[in-house]
Symmetry: C2
Subunit: 82 residues, 2 copies
DNA sequence: GGGCATTTGTACGTATGTATG
DNA sequence: ACATACATACGTACAAATGCC
């Protein structure tokens, strides 16, 4: 699933994997995505890489992060356009 | 100039300092900003912190980065809208 | 109020890869 | 071949926010 050798950065691969899980409905709106530590364990990556994964998903507008709580799939509500 | 104790993250402080230098015309459009290694030496920070500084400036639209070359103050030109 | 676990944020250091000149 | 500079990835430690007991 994750290729530690290929040219695609790990954090991109993992972000794509998470995005696919959201797309597939496995991870639902307003529900948490795996925590950084869970990503570390599930995908065998370092925490810094897990953080970049989450950051990328945030930049893609797929998740939102709340300090001390976790990162959640964005709500499906109107959300005022943007 | 840089407060290693206060509540403001180092990378934000350094980014603000660089932004001020751009604002003041000390760093000019299409000219390079200090490299990561230079930031490390000039401000006494770690490389990772220097990277986050540059990243923040990039997100603020103040600089652009070219791999293998360096990071430059954005041009003042029309830049075709976007 | 305190204590604890969980989670994200910051900051450090190191190594290797890739692009440019 | 070499030097410079950014990109990725690893690891570690501590701080801050949250939630629960």
């Amino acid at each position: 699933m994750i290729d530690h050798e290929g040219p695609t950065p790990l954090y991109v691969q993992v972000a794509d994997a998470i995005a696919a899980r959201i797309e597939a409905g496995e991870l639902l709106p307003d529900r948490p995505v795996p925590s950084e530590n869970q990503l570390v364990q599930e995908y065998g990556i370092a925490r810094g890489t897990a953080r970049k994964t989450i950051q990328l998903l945030r930049e893609r507008g797929l998740v939102v992060t709340i300090v001390g709580r976790g990162t959640y799939v964005v709500s499906k509500r109107p959300q005022a356009g943007r």
